[in-house]
């Protein structure tokens, strides 16, 4: 029976989001809709092994859930006390009942935009989106974010309560509001991706599921909003990041900087998909931060080697990105690209400016970037001190180990010849700071 259960769960997973989105629309209450869909899943697990998977499983789930909702509204003491109970009951009882006929409208956009409403805190948006749109269970999400399950469950409960009590509408935003609201949705998806991707980079399990879910969400958004170039751009960006995984995922003991990737191992299919999506987005001629970051990533993807990369183009792209998102993280990433055009000393000056502004104090990637630039200039002792600072700052034990390993390499004299004399002669064997992947909390773009 294990096979049957797995099949049922797969069918459920494929249609759950769509069914939930439609149920919330019809039932009008988030929590009630979710509880009833959960009941329907239980019923499916009880009946489908014997009766077979129905021809219209989504319809079956929707009708079963609706019946459960009517039951609860009639019998449940908590619901009997609520004022809008009769209104909801009336709506539910009026709906058609035949599972074979019922067509589930695609209300997933309403669900996504509601889960990512700006009236909810970002943490709540992430928790709610992963639980309801992605369909991950609380345990999976909690483990991926290194949070106690109870904390995550609380966040979801509070978010749903706020949706209900403040009357956050179950709606797709108006045309005027759409760009800003969409930016919010994309930010949630990218945050989830980064969380998963960064965890994978330091060899932490559990979070891999997040990167896959983010891509899945990204695909859904592109499907639902095909004419939104930023949604397309975000998916392109995520696929291009993923394309590089084969080059670093085999070695959990140390970071493999982009410079050292065996580019032949990059996933060609993912690159092709990413490039194709970027091309598609560009037809709209509405550039945006995700498209720009994808374009930067695309430059790496098409370059057979670090030396062959069009760094000037990348710096220009960072200029464009900075114009849209003048954040110190973007400035940092741009400085690293500048080091490839004007040399590490020029880049160090840019980093010094950022440091003077106090903006990235405590931000580990800043120290890594600085340290690697110092290594390139042969200033090993300073580089080692900077790496020591990074080790102190990081909160992830895996990252501390990796930073420590790199610190050991530098202090031990590895990483290439001393170049304090040469002009524009960056040692080939040293790792570039621009490539070192790290955990991210505020990144504008990943480098690996």
């Amino acid at each position: 029976m294990a096979g049957a259960r797995a099949d049922i769960e797969r069918v459920y997973r494929d249609s759950a989001t769509r069914v939930l989105a439609a149920l919330i629309g019809r039932i009008g209450d988030f929590e009630l809709a979710e509880d009833c869909l959960q009941d329907a899943l239980v019923a499916a697990l009880e009946r489908w092994p014997a009766e077979g998977i129905p021809a219209n499983p989504a319809g079956w789930l929707a009708v079963t859930a609706r019946r459960r909702a009517i039951d609860r509204l009639r019998r449940d003491r908590v619901w009997r006390a609520k004022r809008d109970r009769l209104e909801l009951l009336r709506r539910l009882e009026a709906a058609p009942g035949d599972p074979l006929d019922v067509e589930i409208p695609d209300e997933r956009l309403r669900l996504v935009f509601t889960c990512c409403h700006p009236a909810l805190s970002l943490e709540a948006q992430v928790a709610l989106t992963l639980r309801t749109v992605a369909g991950l269970n609380t345990g999976e999400v909690a483990r991926a974010f290194l949070l106690p399950e109870a904390t995550l469950a609380q966040r979801v409960v509070r978010a749903k309560r706020k949706i209900r009590e403040a009357r956050i509408p179950y709606a797709v935003p108006s045309r005027a509001a759409l760009p800003e609201r969409l930016a919010g949705v994309l930010a949630v998806v990218y945050l989830v991706f980064n969380q998963g991707y960064s965890a994978a980079l330091v060899g932490r399990g559990h979070a891999d599921v997040l990167a896959d879910e983010a891509v899945r969400l990204g695909r859904t958004l592109v499907e639902l909003l095909p004419d939104e170039p930023e949604a397309v751009g975000l998916l392109a960006l995520m696929r291009l990041h993923q394309s590089r995984a084969p080059a670093w995922s085999g070695d959990p003991e140390r970071f493999v900087p982009l410079d050292e990737h065996d580019r032949r191992s990059w996933d060609r299919a993912a690159i092709a998909e990413g490039l194709g999506l970027l091309e598609r987005a560009s037809h709209h001629e509405r550039p945006g931060p995700y498209q720009i970051q994808a374009a930067i990533s695309a430059h790496h993807a098409i370059s057979p080697s670090p030396q062959a990369t069009d760094w000037r183009a990348i710096v220009s792209l960072y200029d464009a990105l900075y114009a849209l998102q003048p954040s110190p993280v973007v400035a940092l990433n741009r400085a690293v690209a500048v080091s490839r055009v004007d040399g590490p000393a020029a880049a160090l000056e840019l980093l010094a400016e950022i440091e003077r502004s106090g903006a990235l104090r405590g931000y580990v990637p800043f120290y890594r970037a600085r340290a690697e630039l110092l290594v390139q200039l042969g200033r090993r002792a300073e580089a080692a001190r900077t790496y020591r600072r990074a080790v102190e700052l990081t909160t992830w034990p895996e990252e501390r180990a990796l930073l420590g390993a790199r610190l050991g390499e530098i202090a031990g004299g590895a990483g290439g010849a001393d170049t304090s004399g040469g002009r524009h002669e960056w040692p080939r064997s040293s790792s570039s700071s621009s490539r070192t992947p790290t955990t991210t909390k505020r990144r504008a773009g990943l480098w690996t």
């Binding site: 409403h117 009236a119 009590e165 403040a166 009357r167 956050i168 509408p169 709606a171 935003p173």
Partner: protein, 118 residues
């Protein structure tokens, strides 16, 4: 569904306004009220005197505490309230955006559990 739009601002900033600026402000609030009424969204509003005119009382077992001033010393203080009808939070938020005080300070949008305006 009713919402309270709580207008917070820096009293000093308002006090420093020229008569023209004040008049513009009064006019803007008047226009907003008119728009709210036409949309059948207006329940009422109050404009408070400055926070410095406030007195705060706390009744505790055996004693009553009196403070000269508002309940908490914050940079922005409560200056006024609009009570409106709105079906959704988004609608209430778009009314809040139109409050002149939102540009000068903050407007908190709070759903109302029950209203009694007798």
């Amino acid at each position: 569904m009713h919402y309270a739009l709580l207008i917070f601002g820096d009293d000093a900033r308002y006090a420093a306004m020229s008569p023209e600026e004040e008049q513009d402000l009064v006019r803007a609030y008047g226009e907003l009220t008119r728009r709210l009424r036409s949309a059948s969204a207006y329940l009422g509003s109050v404009r408070l005197c400055d926070a410095s005119t406030a007195t705060t009382r706390r009744v505790r077992p055996g004693r009553v505490l009196t403070t000269d001033g508002p309940f908490a010393e914050t940079k922005e203080q409560l200056r006024g309230v609009f009570l409106i009808r709105s079906e959704t939070l988004d609608e209430a938020l778009s009314w809040a955006d139109q409050i002149p005080g939102a540009r000068l300070g903050s407007v908190e949008v709070r759903p109302i559990r029950s209203t009694d305006l007798s």
